[in-house]
Symmetry: C2
Subunit: 102 residues, 2 copies
């Protein structure tokens, strides 16, 4: 779908510039399972624009005092919601398709 948005090509220094989050924080959120950067051959972390957006969301929730563990659960629920929605849309499309076949 989104070819540029999800490509992991941005180093941590640039992510720090864009989000304002310290490298320490960015790496910590990774260790807590909130984000999943890729690595270059020699181990340098690479992030996508999606990761950056996610980090901004995380930063907002942290400002509200929400702990990383809670944030992780919220993110998982968001994904579940998306799956449910997609599943329903697919179900409706199939229903329409089946009606046409009648």
């Amino acid at each position: 779908m989104s070819s540029y948005k999800d490509k992991k090509v941005i180093t941590i220094g640039i992510v720090n510039e864009i989000t304002g989050l310290s490298c320490r924080m960015i790496r910590y959120y990774e260790s807590r399972g909130l984000i999943f950067p890729e690595r270059t051959e020699r181990g340098t972390r690479k992030y996508s624009f999606s990761d950056i957006e996610l980090l901004m969301e995380i930063a907002n929730k942290r400002e509200e005092g929400i702990q990383t563990y809670e944030i992780k659960k919220e993110l998982q629920n968001e994904n579940k919601d998306r799956e449910v929605r997609d599943h329903m849309i697919r179900g409706q499309l199939n229903a329409q398709f089946n009606l046409k076949k009648l």
Copy 2:
């Protein structure tokens, strides 16, 4: 228009990984006026996905033996073509708009 595609956030090492062009070549094409990366505060070059696509085009033309100066002219013509096309489209839209006013 394209928010991610044109954002300059990719370091030269990643561009090298993606395009296969050596850092030397990438910097040389810049010195010849074919690409225009931005810089971080301390001088590290930053490229966009558009720059990467442009570099692939340049690489193709170089393989055909076309010199950088010629490539530069071709790129400028492409931009001119685009401008002309955009101008014409705008002209047609205006013409239709004016017709409706009659």
